[in-house]
Symmetry: C2
Subunit: 106 residues, 2 copies
């Protein structure tokens, strides 16, 4: 994490996940690592970028298709994290699914 | 900053700005605040979300059109920040322009 994702030429997809954490830490770090580990094995996964500042965090994951995003959303391990996330780790979160049309870097 | 952006129903646009900072701080905080202040006065601006963890940061700004994004990119004050950013504040950065097609929150 905390590094640039090496994405291909657009178009590709970005899932922008913003979240406000609770103060409950129980297993959060392990879960976050496992999510990256599992996601990165999925077909269509292109990379991930993440930063958290106090209780507010942004994670952007990149995918080659909407189908890949949907499959990851329904992944069994991810489902468990989603449930525990709502019950314990997150006060609020927001998910935005977007299509990257252009990119450039310095 | 460090809060959820209240965006309208999709579609709208997200500019995903990821960056690695140098250790040079000269005016960085003031510039960051000014950028938010100026951007938020622009036509088509919808909101901004930002988090930095150590030297890696993610800022996502939301806009109602590609034209609004282009106009902000060419804004005089923003141009100066871009130049100073390359010269002093950022080791690397990446900009991705994407169209949000779907969103949901908890």
């Amino acid at each position: 994490m905390s590094n640039f994702a090496k994405t291909p030429e657009p178009p590709y997809y970005a899932v922008i996940f913003t979240s406000k954490r609770t103060e409950v830490d129980k297993g959060y770090g392990t879960m976050a690592e496992r999510m990256v580990e599992f996601a990165s094995k999925e077909k269509g996964y292109l990379g991930i970028e993440s930063a958290r500042e106090a209780d507010f965090g942004i994670t952007v994951s990149y995918w080659d298709s909407l189908e890949a995003i949907q499959k990851w959303k329904e992944h069994a391990v991810h489902k468990i994290a989603q449930e525990k996330g709502k019950a314990e780790w997150y006060k609020n979160y927001s998910v935005r699914i977007s299509k990257v049309e252009r990119d450039y870097s310095f």
